[in-house]
């Protein structure tokens, strides 16, 4: 990698050596991909979405390829906050990059209890998932209405001593109101977008593919919409924004940063190219050189 180009960014006081972060749910706790390359080269890693108590996740088909993307309905299968703190944090710490714990919930109480436990643990940032479309009763409910989101963020803010990122759903009634409500409630940063609620039908079985009927769409198919949402949110809020949504290439990274993002998360592309994290980073350095960008922060929000 080209050391003469500065790729380091800062989000809510947390320094990242580069703006490429592994997105929650696509990267486990980093262990599997670390067998293929040193995942410590990434700016940071968002853990698999945690909940206060362990969850088995959804029954039935969980992943489904679509044109230029995929749908998933994993349903937050995870070992629970306590297990994560005892077992996964020490492993993730070996990577030496920014450790972001992603946490969802089913009730306000769960969010607050889980957040205070994680806040006291050895994490760098907490990413609050108020946007999972795949968990019935809760999960996304918090991510649809701005006033509901405001309440949960405010409560979590009160107990969370670590920098707090709120991950937004593109399924929010109004993404701008949602972003402002979360900022008002004390979010230190916003990340967007999570998956779009979508549907697939198995015509032979004459039934929806997913047991939950709807599932989350990700990948290149959503990128232009995600970019628009990141752009419009960045114009409205003062806190840093992390762009997510179908980012596959170094060019995509620059697009999101030019739209105003301070960093990005890559998710679905990890399945297409297991070395995507490393490849996007290497390409990013080369691309910056070609484009005459000396410091990646200089292009932030220029569009």
């Amino acid at each position: 990698m080209d050391k003469s180009i500065n790729l380091s960014v800062n989000i809510a006081g947390v320094p990242f050596k580069n703006p490429v972060i592994a997105a929650s749910g696509t990267f486990g706790f980093g262990e599997e991909y670390n067998e293929l390359y040193d995942v410590g080269c990434l700016g940071g890693i968002c853990s698999k979405g945690l909940t206060l108590h362990p969850k088995d996740g959804n029954e039935g088909i969980r992943v489904w390829e679509t044109a230029s993307g995929m749908m998933n309905s994993v349903g937050l299968q995870n070992p629970g906050v306590e297990y994560f703190i005892a077992n996964d944090i020490p492993l993730m710490r070996r990577f030496g990059n920014v450790l972001i714990a992603n946490m969802g919930g089913h009730s306000l109480e769960d969010y607050v209890t889980g957040a205070s436990m994680l806040s006291a643990a050895d994490i760098d940032m907490l990413e609050l998932n108020i946007s999972c479309p795949n968990v019935k009763s809760g999960g996304m409910a918090f991510g649809i209405k701005a006033d509901v989101a405001h309440d949960v963020v405010k409560e979590v803010r009160a107990v969370c001593k670590k920098p707090l990122i709120v991950k937004l759903s593109p399924n929010a009634e109004n993404i701008l109101e949602m972003a402002k409500a979360c900022e008002d409630a004390g979010a230190d940063a916003l990340s967007l977008v999570n998956t779009f609620q979508a549907m697939a039908i198995d015509i032979r079985k004459r039934k929806p593919v997913f047991n939950n009927v709807y599932a989350g769409l990700s990948g290149a198919a959503i990128k232009p919409i995600a970019l628009r949402m990141v752009h419009s949110v960045c114009k409205q809020v003062h806190v840093p924004v992390i762009g997510i949504g179908g980012i596959y290439t170094a060019e995509d990274v620059l697009e999101f940063m030019m739209a105003g993002a301070s960093a990005v998360q890559i998710g679905t592309v990890n399945f297409n190219d297991p070395l995507a994290g490393k490849n996007v980073l290497e390409d990013l350095s080369a691309l910056c050189r070609r484009e005459g960008i000396v410091d990646i922060n200089e292009i932030k929000g220029i569009c």
Binding site: G25, T26, F27, G28, E32, Y33, E35, L36, K48, D56, G57, E59, I61, R62, V63, W64, E65, T66, S68, G69, M70, N72, V74, Q77, G219, A220, Y248, T268, V269, N270, F271, N272, P274, L275
Partner: protein, 247 residues
């Protein structure tokens, strides 16, 4: 586990919608029952395709696959010399080195190919192997079992070749120290039940939709007697007594 570039050495149709793809092995490992994630595209398709190892030759990996959708259609059009990417070996594989005596491998349809490499590795481990291979109507891969098996029993549903009916009709688990099975769930459940009755250990290899293939995305998790397990990483091979057959 490696992600590497390889070259297609051959890609032949061996039966209606069944193909055998041979690629350069490049020193890659392949334990019986393991699989690779394959792709010959860039970003045109999102996911790689999990395909089990049919044969691991000295310098080649052989994959037998059925043309079922877009991904396998693209694979089926690959010509000699084409580039292909492999991620693997994925999964645990069969514990051939721990087995002894006499083992039956019971395959149905596209569950047959991985049992070929398994039979070879069992033979190399000093195990005597009988193969029970069930097909809908057309046979494929059967002759590849011949060097490694004492007896080969074949069935087709309407009796076009071999026994008419299901291959499980021919199996008597009590004659074996272990049974290894791969194929449609309905067949493996039957084999597992027969083995339970005869008190013979039975290993099943599951098929599942998967995204990452390496245990990160939890897209292929199943509920087992020992909690949630990832077919791609903790499997695809499970002891039948660990399975709940909840798909």
């Amino acid at each position: 586990m490696r992600y590497f570039d390889s070259k297609v050495l051959d890609n032949q149709q061996v039966a209606e919608d069944i193909f055998v793809l041979r690629v350069e092995r490049n020193g890659a490992e392949a334990k019986a029952g393991q699989f690779y994630m394959l792709k010959s595209w860039d970003k045109e398709l999102t996911l790689m395709r999990p395909i089990s190892v049919f044969k691991a030759e000295k310098d080649e990996l052989w994959f037998m696959y059925r043309l079922v959708g877009k991904g396998t259609q693209i694979l089926s059009l690959l010509e000699k010399g084409a580039s292909i990417k492999l991620l693997g070996p994925c999964g645990n594989g069969y514990p051939c080195e721990k087995l002894s005596g006499k083992v039956a491998v019971v395959g149905g349809g596209l569950g047959v190919p991985p049992l070929c490499e398994t039979s070879k590795q069992l033979t190399h481990a000093g195990v005597t192997v009988d193969a029970y291979l069930g097909f809908r109507d057309v046979l494929f891969g059967v002759e590849d079992f011949e060097p490694w098996c004492d007896s080969i029993f074949v069935s087709t549903e309407k009796g076009e070749e071999g026994y008419k009916g299901f291959v499980t009709d021919l199996l008597k688990p009590e004659g074996y120290d272990c049974v290894i099975t791969c194929g449609p769930e309905i067949m493996m459940r039957k084999v597992a039940a027969m083995c339970a009755e005869a008190d013979v250990p039975c290993y099943c290899s599951l098929e599942h939709r998967m995204a990452c293939g390496i245990g990160a995305c939890l897209g292929c998790s199943i509920r087992t007697q020992n909690g949630m397990k990832r077919v791609c990483k903790d499997g695809p091979v499970f002891l039948s007594t660990d399975l709940l057959w909840n798909s």
